[in-house]
Amino acid sequence: MTTSSRLARYVTPNLSEDRVMTQWAGSLAVAKLRSREQKAGLVLGLAALCLAAALVVLSWRPRTEVQSVAGAVVESGPSEPQRLTFPDGTRVELAAATRLSVVEAAARRVRLRVEHGGVTLDVTPNPERELVVEAGRTEVVVVGTRFRVVVGDAAGEPQVTVAVERGAVRVRSLDGGAETQLAAGQSWIDPHPVATASRGAGPALGTTPSAEPTPSAAPPPESSAGSSPESPVSPSAGPERSREQDPKAAFAALGTEGFARAVASASASRLFELYEIAQLAGRPAEAATALDQLRRRFPGDSRAGLAAFELGRLRQDQLGDPAGAAEALENALRRGGAFGEDASARLVQAYRALGNRAGCERARANYLAKYPSGAHAEAVRRQCRR
């Protein structure tokens, strides 16, 4: 295919050898990553775009309504988990055999429904909008957190389970039951059969009035589909599927040098993908580089705060770099918004690891002033002691 147009001759991009080779390596890596989506078929397709539109509304300061996406459905394949990442860093992970529908997508509220299967949401908080997830007779109002909703389908097992990994959610019954706040590590179980529960369905339709929720401090149960939120490769995956989805293969396609070149020229979205490739491939140093570039080169991007926080976490937990962690966490806190509480608590730990007592005490005082009864308050109070 060639063009001989006079106009086209004057509209050509600058193509250096480095740029072309980065594109080459990137195409191989992206092909490996995308193979999972290809296997999921067209299920996501337009529905994913609609869900993306709904989540665009919840990702940023709302200005308009997006009614047309209501009714959109996203499904994962029978043995195929699916993960969507949105511009503010919010992640929606569908376990295998999950059906998620968009009930409402308005400027100040987005309502999703888990029809069956399990969904893990890692939501960036936004005070301008409310995100509600419903399942069976239960609705979960998201405060800004990571949590999982599982709709069971086997006889004798709980029908709806909500498990909070980080932050907090408010859980209530759709037919007017009491509201309960769940914190990290707590779970909530509604034993009622999902089949008899639908929006607006009450006792008149033959449903049993909702029992009080059952908060539990037990560890959150795993999704019935068995997929780990952090690992898109199901343990039950066959060799072919594992190979195609293996982020190590995607990283190998780039190579260390190719990865560095890709990071140097990547867009904000691609940097986030590169971070995920490296992280899932067990390359935290390279993952940190991608995050560092994202926050520095795209400071106005909605993911920059999340990148700074995640960079701090990586440096602290995996790279043994408390000084770097403190710098990134301070940066995340200056940006405000997402993960403020976690970043504040981690900052205390970072200064403590550095032996910086003044910094530790200042960070501790800041945390306790902002989150006196926060999830980490007890641990933070114990820090900075001689």
Binding site: S4, V11, Q23, L28, A31, L49, V56, W60, V66
Partner: protein
């Protein structure tokens, strides 16, 4: 990354068809040779369709990634170039739709086309003026009209080629190009464009 020498006695190298067959057999050198051969075409076409350098690398990577994944479904290996061109058009279509969605929601402040970045400084004044009249308005157009119009007016393709690349009929292509012409005219006269 070493590039293997892929040359025949004539100096032209293997045909696209031969490279496609080898690439299907997971020969990495053949894949890379195809990439090398068509990278300039894909970059140029993608750049002119989306109008922004910032989107180019992601778009080109996505196009080739799609090509590698679906190479097995290419019925005529000799037609690799046109087939790849159609992938570029489809991928650009998705990107443009996404940008329009973001723009409608008010979240695409950086989506505008920068004519200085787009058009070569060596372009004659009349070419620059024509490109300005086109790229100054296409960002707000529906993706189908924009792509058909740019493929015809900027790429200089004939109607059948545009129809093949966009996966539509010649009649649809004609209608979309005419719609684009009306929009350009309306913009030139300062009247409201059709929505």
């Amino acid at each position: 990354m070493a590039i293997p020498v892929v040359q025949t006695r004539s100096g032209a190298g293997p045909s696209d068809a031969a490279l496609v067959v080898a690439a299907r057999a997971r020969e990495r050198w053949a894949q890379e040779a195809l990439f090398r051969r068509h990278a300039a075409m894909v970059n140029g076409l993608a750049f002119r369709l989306v109008g922004r350098d910032a989107d180019l690398d992601d778009l080109v990577q996505d196009c080739f990634a799609e090509a590698w994944r679906s190479l097995g479904r290419l019925k005529e290996p000799a037609a690799f170039s046109s087939w790849l061109g159609a992938i570029v058009v489809r991928t650009a279509h998705k990107l443009i739709r996404r940008r329009r969605l973001l723009a409608r929601l008010g979240f695409c402040a950086q989506c505008a086309i920068d004519l200085d970045e787009l058009v070569s400084p060596t372009a004659p004044a009349d070419v620059r003026a024509e490109l300005a009249s086109i790229y100054g308005v296409v960002e707000t157009w529906p993706a189908g009209i924009r792509l058909a119009f740019l493929l015809r007016r900027v790429e200089g393709l004939d109607l059948e080629e545009v129809a093949t690349l966009t996966g539509t009929s010649v009649a649809t292509v004609k209608r979309r190009i005419a719609d684009g012409e009306r929009r350009i005219l309306a913009a030139t006269r300062g009247t409201k464009e059709p929505s």
